[in-house]
């Protein structure tokens, strides 16, 4: 389930090589793009203001973002069909954040986030099939159906956390473990604008700075904490400055290249032993907070439409790829078709895979098992723990 390396990237590259082989000579192999400069806090140097992208990488990012987009829309559909229940927080609109970060760090780096996790889980190497069947609560899910939408885990990936803000001290702890063991790796600890005022986040900032922990704090500012706009929630909405003594950068979270370059810059800083950094990604979510929130009682449809037409991360990348000759409209359409097929296949699996066996009710309570029985609903049901 948690495969070494980047299997999704390898599969994507195979596909791209097949596509590319037909009209390789027609396309540019690399292009350079201007990217928005970052706002800085407590920093003398900055991430670059231009980024180069190879054709291979461009097609990879496109496929990754499109996969996340279509996976989330499929989850929306399945939720409305009541095949997915409970919580379902969707990531569409924020794809550039997840894709940009993962393409700037290593698989040996660690990452933890909150509950809007499906896209991040995919980027950390969990197949769409495993994500969708976790959402539908089947045994083929990445947590065998026992976790659900908010509790997906993988290699060097700690979820998927339901309690707002709790994941940030956890992330600082993961970073602590890297430094303690003398590893070169860092931990990316993600949270949203809604969590940014949590006390425990400032506690994590304090310890990370004091002990120079290799932690990259990332605030995904999608402008709304549930239904509360940032201006109504925070006395200070400059989230990249909220780390105080921790240097911060504010990044255009709708541009995958911006996110990639900023993350690389931050990762280099952290790996050089200078301590933590805070990165605010300015982004947007098209869906409401969760599937229980229509998302239009606290913002206008016009606003959502405007972001879609002017700042959609996938459209932005598409325009760059086509405009620079790295790809063509037709080639990208073929990737769209391939992605749709993959998502449909995963969805078929997720709706036909069986639910976990009833005996799974009492498994994984303890790692070091004990012989004691687990009390059931009545005293006459003493269940075996496993």
């Amino acid at each position: 389930m948690f495969l070494p390396g980047r299997p999704l990237a390898r599969r994507a590259l195979r596909l791209l090589r097949n596509l590319g082989a037909r009209s390789f000579a027609d396309f540019a192999s690399e292009a350079t793009f201007d990217i928005k400069p970052c706002l800085l806090h407590g920093l003398e140097s900055a991430p670059p203001i231009s980024a180069s992208m190879s054709r291979e990488d461009g097609l990879l990012y496109y496929k990754q973002m499109q996969t996340i987009r279509r996976m989330e829309l499929k989850a929306d559909q399945l939720y409305k069909q009541k095949v997915i229940r409970g919580f379902c927080h969707l990531y569409d609109g924020q794809e550039a954040c997840g894709v940009g970060i993962e393409n700037a760090i290593k698989p040996t780096d660690h990452l933890i986030t909150a509950y809007r996790v499906h896209g991040i889980a995919y980027m950390r190497g969990i197949p769409v099939k495993s994500i969708l069947s976790e959402l539908t609560g089947r045994q083929g899910g990445c947590a065998k159906g026992k976790g659900g939408s908010m509790h997906m885990y993988g290699q060097n990936f700690y979820g998927g956390n339901g309690i707002v803000g709790a994941q940030v001290p956890l992330g600082a702890g993961v970073a602590f473990a890297q430094k303690y063991q003398g590893f070169d790796s860092l931990c990316v600890a993600m949270y949203g604008d809604g969590a940014a005022n949590q006390g425990q986040i400032f506690e994590a900032f304090n310890m990370s700075y004091l002990w120079s922990l290799p932690c990259l704090f990332v605030c995904e500012n999608n402008q709304y904490g549930m239904g509360t706009a940032v201006e109504r929630a925070s006395a200070n909405i400059d989230y990249y400055q909220r780390g105080d003594y921790i240097p911060g950068i504010k990044v255009d979270g709708m541009d995958v290249l911006c996110v990639r370059e900023a993350t690389k810059f931050a990762a280099d800083y952290i790996r050089s032993g200078k301590g933590p950094m805070l990165m605010e990604l300015e982004t947007y979510r098209y869906h409401g907070h969760s599937m229980s929130d229509p998302g239009i009682s606290y913002r206008t449809r016009e606003e959502i439409k405007e972001v879609r037409s002017k700042s959609d991360p996938i459209s932005l990348l598409r325009d760059r790829l086509v405009g620079s000759g790295l790809s063509s409209v037709e080639e990208l359409k073929e990737i769209d078709v391939e992605v749709r097929r993959e998502i449909e296949e995963a969805s078929q699996f997720a709706t036909s895979d069986p639910e976990p066996p009833l005996s799974d009710l009492t498994t994984h309570i303890y790692q070091t098992g004990l012989n004691s029985r687990i009390r059931g609903i009545t005293p006459w049901q003493q269940l075996a723990a496993a």
Binding site: G147, A175, E203, I365, S372
Partner: protein, 278 residues
């Protein structure tokens, strides 16, 4: 919250941290990290993320530290699946159980007692070893007896033994059980004892409602030992109030040796006063 979460994260990433709360009263702020991040993660991840962390610190009443610093959390943590909860009484318990907790791969809440830190106990030869371990989930019979089972955890185990010595002079022979482990709770040892003595008293420093004693009594009702009871099981607990500061009030806020003696005597003889003084 911050450092408790940091400890849990470090455990998830491969270390074996010990997170110390100055007292468990402060753990209330961090309780989300203990219960949700540590306790439930193995289950939610279907076994892929382990959390080998130990939370330790003084629990329950101390002396003169008043209401916000005197709460017993055995019932609160004992309530939650996914955690292991230990409550040592003497030096043997403290060493054997703490080592076992650290070596255990699951999150363990280790409830110590401030007033016991300074109390010396003889340690047998085998307990001097750096690998001396006690099993998690097993209670220990500190004193065997025929007439009544007295079950306790932490500091009041000592009170129960003192009470047993006094009661022996009146011809009442107590079996004193030191729980050692709150979760998992060793009901098998308690049941076996009750089926021999036919009488049960639980003793704890914590509050009565929804407490450790409440759980033991309910379990006895549901299990094989119920038919062996000659009297209803009784709980001896702290008074159902926030802990007062004034010494005279504090003294009557929690179970003392005389309370245990009186409860046992009353259960077995119907009298609160000893025959000798009646």
């Amino acid at each position: 919250m911050g450092f408790a979460g940091l400890a849990v994260g470090a455990a998830m990433a491969g270390l074996r941290p010990i997170c110390e709360f100055m007292t468990f009263n402060f753990s209330m702020q961090a309780i989300d990290q203990v219960v949700n991040s540590a306790g439930k993660t193995l289950y939610m991840s279907a076994g892929s993320v382990h959390v080998p962390v130990v939370f330790r610190g003084p629990n329950g009443a101390s002396a003169g530290v008043a209401a916000q610093h005197s709460q017993c959390f055995a019932a609160w943590y004992g309530h939650c699946p996914g955690l292991k909860v230990l409550s040592p009484w003497n030096s043997l318990d403290s060493k054997g159980l703490l080592k076992a907790a650290i070596r255990d791969d699951d999150p363990v809440v280790f409830l110590e007692n401030e007033l016991m830190y300074g109390v010396p106990f003889d340690m047998p030869e085998e307990a001097q070893s750096p690998d001396f371990l006690l099993p998690i989930g097993k209670a220990h019979v500190e004193r065997t007896g025929q007439h009544i089972t007295v079950v306790a955890h932490s500091r009041v185990v000592g009170f129960c033994l003192e009470a047993a010595t006094a009661l022996a002079k009146e011809g009442i022979d107590c079996e004193v059980i030191n729980l050692r482990s709150i979760r998992p709770l060793d009901m098998a040892t308690v049941e076996q004892s009750v089926m021999k003595t036919n009488h049960l008293i639980t003793v704890e420093g914590g509050w009565p409602l929804f407490g450790v004693g409440a759980e033991i009594c309910a379990s006895i009702m549901e299990g094989p030992a119920f038919d062996y009871l000659d009297a209803p099981a009784t709980r001896v607990t702290g008074v159902d109030i926030p802990m007062p500061y004034a010494r005279n009030l504090e003294e009557i806020s929690g179970p003392q040796v005389k309370d245990i003696i009186m409860a046992a005597r009353r259960m077995l003889t119907g009298r609160e006063e000893s025959r000798a003084t009646a």
